[in-house]
Symmetry: C2
Subunit: 320 residues, 2 copies
């Protein structure tokens, strides 16, 4: 089966119909209409078989996740999703695999009003790159820089679910519906990103874990933070694992949760509940930005926790 | 060495400085300013080691080619290049390879006024996806659809060079400078694309060979074409190979030339020379659009050539 037939059969007309798509899949380029009062936001991410997912992973889930990862980046800057492109490398021309992948991709695209406007289908080791394109009102994008001492550090949803799910999979243990959903079908916090525009002082999405990703905010903003461990929002299973291991690395260092971490000037504290309702997800204050650089974790007993976190060389933990 | 350090050292600040880049590499998204009087054109392409290039290929050439392939798509719609993103998958954190790749990419980016605004660096089998973004005056993009009976079929540059170069490489034969340059450092016909806006009736870039790519124009435009074989612009080495083999597949069916094929209403025939001078590349009329569907190749003796061309199932050659 040819590349062109596979594209025509499975990757054409995916997602929402949008009047701003002037030329869709099928020419040398897609042509798009960006409104004058918007900035264009874009982000590209790759998922590689054997690195980011197991080679026998459910293709429908992969289609969802490959798009969700990008939409999570758009959420982090407060952009409204618009278009996506897909560079897909497949070991063989497997129409069944492709149709299921396309279904997962298209379902999320439809939900989030995204159109697949272009792509490239090539032969090679299984890998998926998706670029997402969103629109954000001029001058109102959220950035990593902007956090100030006294700002509240907040996160959406719960932390460590995807990490625990991956542990279960790798150990061949059964995976319940909740953890499977959290690993394979993460919900990008798109509505939250839009709610946070003009309110949050900085934001990032949690793809590499709270310690590393909050570290990016701190590095970009030139400040530090104090995290109160007993405030971390944890599902029962994650809380149980933390207690059994006496180790906080699962919620602090495991990736793939695709929640947002953001900093909020204290005068907006009272709005957290309203914002959570508008965004359709729990929001939890987990700490505070401090002038002193570094990231400090404080236990329920008020003592600093000195466990190893992170692992990225650009990000030095100062636990004391 | 971490992903973040490799990005900071080798993939940050690549290409031209552009005032329309509001947020560059280093946040969740890049933020870009699209002028009100322009449409956004975009295209993504993947090069996979062992499929699109030999695994030991010169990384500097790969950096050039990965960007050139995308710029050729922008040229085909008449867009002015602006920004690029890069999804790069590497088997190991090889800073030397990456610095050479980045140099090849950055040199072409600087020449064509392109900024690398984002990307993803992942671990896995060597593969390179580049998305390019260009700007085209509203309503003036070139498309594959639009060719009409009587229009001249024209191509830029010469055909079959990259195909002959690949044959030499695969057979372990020495490669002269001209053919090596044509395979490894193709020149995207960006200036030509801009010259053709408002003049050409249809255009495409030649990535899969004239027979297949002109076939896309014919399919989109609902017409056919007659190509005169002795008009094909051929370098001496390609002309020699065609004569020795008595076979036109090299200039008709081999890919990777990244020239443009376009159709020109006959009233613009006299402008071809001026357009070639403005675009800085030879332009040659090789045939004519006809109402009868299908693609016909006519030899110097006036007889139809019935050789096998193409190979894409969506594209039926009617040689009689």
């Amino acid at each position: 089966m040819s590349e062109f037939k596979l594209i025509a059969d499975h990757l054409t007309g995916l997602g929402a119909a949008r009047p701003d798509v002037l030329l869709d899949v099928g020419d040398d380029c897609a042509l798009l209409d960006v409104p004058q009062d918007r900035e264009l936001a874009l982000s590209i991410d790759t998922l590689v078989a054997g690195v980011h997912f197991l080679p026998d992973a459910d293709p429908e889930g992969l289609g969802h996740k490959a798009l969700a990862v990008g939409l999570s980046d758009l959420a982090a800057v407060g952009a409204e999703p618009a278009w996506a492109t897909l560079a897909l490398t497949l070991p063989e021309a497997d129409a069944h695999w492709l149709s299921r992948f396309a279904r997962g991709f298209a379902t999320l695209a439809q939900q989030e009003d995204v159109r697949l406007v272009g792509g490239d289908l090539t032969h090679g080791p299984l890998a998926i790159s998706v670029q997402v394109h969103g629109l954000v009102p001029r001058g109102h994008a959220l950035r990593r820089a902007g956090a100030k001492p006294g700002d509240l550090v907040c996160v959406s949803g719960a932390l460590g679910d995807a990490g625990l799910a991956l542990e279960h999979l790798q150990q061949g243990e059964p995976l319940g519906d909740y953890l499977r959903q959290r690993l394979e079908r993460p919900t990008p916090r798109v509505a939250l990103g839009e709610v946070l525009r003009g309110v949050a002082s900085a934001a990032i999405d949690l793809s590499d874990g709270l310690a590393a990703d909050l570290g990016h905010i701190l590095a970009a903003s030139g400040c530090g933070a104090r995290i109160e461990l007993d405030r971390l929002p944890l599902a029962d299973q994650v809380a149980g694992a933390v207690a059994a291991r006496n180790d906080w690395r699962l919620p602090l260092c495991s990736g793939d949760d695709y929640e947002l971490c953001f900093t909020l000037p204290p005068e907006h504290h009272a709005e957290l509940k309203v914002m959570a309702a508008a965004a359709g997800c729990p929001l939890t204050q987990v700490g505070e930005i401090e002038a002193r650089t570094g990231l400090r974790f404080v236990g329920a007993d008020g003592h600093l926790w000195h466990g190893e976190v992170g692992g990225y060389d650009h990000f030095a933990i100062t636990g004391s």
